[in-house]
């Protein structure tokens, strides 16, 4: 017997007490006693409230958050300000990044053709958009879609500048999964980012800046 058959037969033998015909998946909407498990699957918030909550929660993780109007000129100058805060001028951009976001006077190297990992390691930073951002947790979600590029781009450089648009904000984690369903089903890899990399491994005290980008600049354009 192969290990596959062995494991599956052990599982089936172990579950002899489970009645045939029981649905194999728990769904809140099909549960006869839903109240105790009725977690909030959809949170509704006013647009301005979403922006404020996201900005404050994101900043709690020592990400640097700035707000600007949702127009290319405002975004450009917010990006330029973020770069000058970190003395960054040689950046990398995904091939699909909106070129209206790139300020003059900075060097942008496109990831098309793909840059070597050493090149990513040497650059000053990376500028991207995102797919979704979650207000309650201060989280940015990348799905490799437009303006985001492959995963290594936002991982190897030491500075990540991420532009979040107002219409990408949702309130809670389940709301985000509802929006990301299509990307996940298409097999696209996702990265949830909540602040710069951190560790609590020494005496359970949080220290920011380990292997991922040590500095995260979030620009909320709304």
């Amino acid at each position: 017997m192969s290990d596959r058959e062995l494991i599956l037969s052990r599982v089936r033998a172990a579950l002899a007490d489970v009645p045939a015909g029981e649905p194999d998946t728990w769904l809140l909407e099909a549960d006869p006693d839903p109240v105790p498990a009725s977690y909030v699957r959809r949170r509704v918030m006013e647009a301005e409230q979403l922006v404020e909550l996201f900005a404050s929660r994101c900043a709690d993780y020592r990400a640097n958050v700035t707000r600007c109007a949702d127009d290319p000129e405002a975004i450009r100058s917010a990006v330029a300000a973020a770069c000058s805060r970190h003395g960054a001028w040689a950046l990398v951009a995904p091939a699909t990044l909106d070129s209206a976001w790139k300020p003059d006077g900075l060097l942008f190297e496109s990831d098309d053709p793909p840059l070597a990992v050493e090149q990513l390691d040497r650059c000053d930073g990376i500028l991207t958009g995102c797919a979704v951002a979650i207000a309650l947790t201060g989280t940015i979600v990348l799905d490799g879609g437009a303006g985001q590029g492959r995963r290594a781009l936002t991982l190897v450089p030491d500075l990540h500048i991420c532009v979040v648009r107002g219409d990408q904000l949702v309130a809670g984690v389940p709301d985000a999964f509802a929006l990301l369903d299509g990307a996940l089903r298409a097999g696209r890899p996702l990265t949830f980012i909540s602040g710069p990399s951190a560790t609590s491994d020494i005496e359970l005290r949080r220290v920011e800046g380990v292997h991922g980008p040590r500095r995260l600049e979030v620009i909320v354009a709304a």
Partner: protein, 504 residues
């Protein structure tokens, strides 16, 4: 490596280490308050816990179907699925995959499943070096230590101890200070070139979604992203209980896990990937599905819920026993309350036979568990099972095994050590006590007489404290560290009768 006396003996050594107890006290108390703040912030926290419990319970009850679905989904997404009935099979599969990739070195993301199966040692036997990239795992690897906590495996070490380790082992670490930020910087510098150049990585999995084949790794440092993104080959070893049916289930689990684990609203990085993606990440992906005792646990309708664990470690942080003994006393990669019910079921009741007694049954673990595993009930169930098996065995050898277990109970309760040979006597004494109690409680007259005799004896013993501390056997294990209560003037029954008489 396991102490012959099990938990009580291992705990005694840990309790004697004052530095360890200080380290643990600081760490567990810091995280307790933070966790409460993080969980009380969500208005639907209790509903999320119940939803998490129901998702896990239903998934386990149909695990065969979800595993088959997961396999199909991963294959369709360009991954390869391997099945490993035990630790040896999993280790063999991983070693062969590494060799097939032409590598002699792998980078690893923190994975308790791979600790459980002893993967690093098995790879070393094949001439393959496994480098741990999680900070705490690296600390333990440098120190030759084993993990003492699910989430922060080096919780038993303070910053000064870690500085000394890094000074001794990391290139350029000679002048390091004990500032945690400086220690983290040193680890970053050491691991950076490995991340950028090692072609094979090994990870665990926090969740895998059956319907899409999506695997999820939750982390903080970015070493998980490095390992799951940069190498050409990614090998993920996952216990079969980690499967969830639907993507929407992650919307529940990814709220429960970070708040319970590090008390953060969300952990810094969560990676989700589905098979392989052209021009993004590894070119080959292997998922190793591991049984190694999980189907044993699954076969017990009460104990099965131990498999619901999402490895947050909240139960460790709130446990009064863990806080004092630390993780090593549990002699398992799964310490604390969850380990006390998981280890005996995964490794067999014989190996973890003292662990179900490593608890005060206070229930703090149940209250903290984000998927509401009823740990106290499973502990009692396993205690009963261990004693029952010992009795059913009939022969003296089996009775002896049960005896050691019961003896463990007495020793934990009495915080008093004892040698292996005494355990059997203590167990026999415990059984005799239980039989005596059954007789005494069998009739009202017997009970009344026994109470009167008890009051007299108690009064006499309290007048002779030196004698009390030196009582023989299991009685002494209890009285040596406790003062006897004062004998009441009258029993409750006597008081009640008098009250009835007066009211008439």
């Amino acid at each position: 490596m396991a102490a012959a006396g099990g938990f009580p003996e291992a705990a005694r050594a840990a309790l004697a280490d004052a530095q360890l107890r200080r380290n643990l006290h600081v760490a567990t108390h810091t995280i307790r308050e933070k966790r409460l703040r993080a969980t009380s912030e969500l208005d639907d926290w209790e509903q999320l816990r119940e939803a998490g419990r129901r998702i896990k319970e239903r998934t386990m009850r149909h695990l065969d179907r979800h595993l088959e679905t997961l396999e199909r989904s991963v294959l369709a997404a360009g991954g390869v699925v391997h099945w490993a009935a035990d630790a040896a099979a999993a280790n063999r599969i991983v070693a062969e995959l590494v060799r097939a990739a032409g590598a002699r070195e792998v980078i690893k993301v923190k994975s308790i499943a791979t600790d459980e199966i002893g993967l690093n040692a098995a790879l070393a036997e094949q001439g393959i070096r496994a480098v741990e990239t999680d900070l705490a795992e690296l600390i333990n690897q440098l120190a030759g230590d084993t993990s003492s906590h699910i989430l922060v495996p080096a919780i038993h070490r303070n910053r000064a101890e870690i500085r000394d380790l890094f000074r001794a082992h990391l290139p350029g670490g000679a002048g390091l200070s004990d500032d945690p930020a400086a220690l983290v910087e040193a680890a970053r510098a050491y691991l950076r070139s490995l991340f950028l150049s090692t072609p094979v990585a090994v990870s665990g999995a926090n969740f895998a979604v059956a319907e899409t084949g999506t695997v999820c790794v939750v982390e903080s440092e970015g070493n998980g992203r490095m390992c799951t993104t940069l190498p050409d080959t990614l090998i993920t070893v996952m216990g079969i209980e980690k499967v969830v049916p639907r993507l929407a289930d992650l919307g529940v689990m990814l709220q429960l896990l970070p708040r319970s684990a590090t008390a953060e609203r969300m952990n810094p990085y969560t990676s989700l990937w589905t098979g392989v993606t052209p021009a993004d990440g590894p070119r080959s992906f292997h998922l190793v599905l591991l049984d190694a005792g999980r189907t044993n646990a699954l076969a017990d309708p009460v104990g099965r819920q131990a498999l619901h664990c999402i490895r947050c470690s909240a139960c460790l942080n709130v446990c009064p026993v863990y806080e004092r003994t630390g993780g090593h006393a549990y002699e398992s990669v799964y310490p604390g309350p969850i380990g006390a019910i998981l280890t005996p079921q995964l490794a067999g009741l014989e190996r973890g036979r003292t662990l179900p007694w490593a608890s005060t049954l206070c229930g703090a673990c149940y209250d903290a568990c984000p998927v509401k595993i009823d740990i106290p009930s499973v502990l009692l169930h396993l205690r009963a099972e261990i004693v029952r098996r010992g009795r059913a065995g009939g022969g003296s050898g089996d009775a002896g095994a049960a005896g050691r277990d019961a003896g463990g109970a007495v020793a934990v309760a009495g915080a008093r050590g004892h040698e292996g040979g005494r355990n059997r006597r203590e167990a026999a004494a415990e059984r005799a006590t239980m039989r005596l109690a059954a007789v005494v409680m069998g009739g009202p007259l017997r009970y009344r007489l026994a109470q009167r005799a008890g009051r007299v004896t108690l009064g006499w013993l309290r007048r002779h404290p030196r004698l009390t501390r030196a009582l023989p056997g299991p009685l002494g294990a209890w009285t040596s560290v406790r003062e006897l209560p004062e004998a009441p003037e009258q029993s409750f029954r006597a008081w009640w009768h008098e009250r009835q008489r007066r009211s008439r």
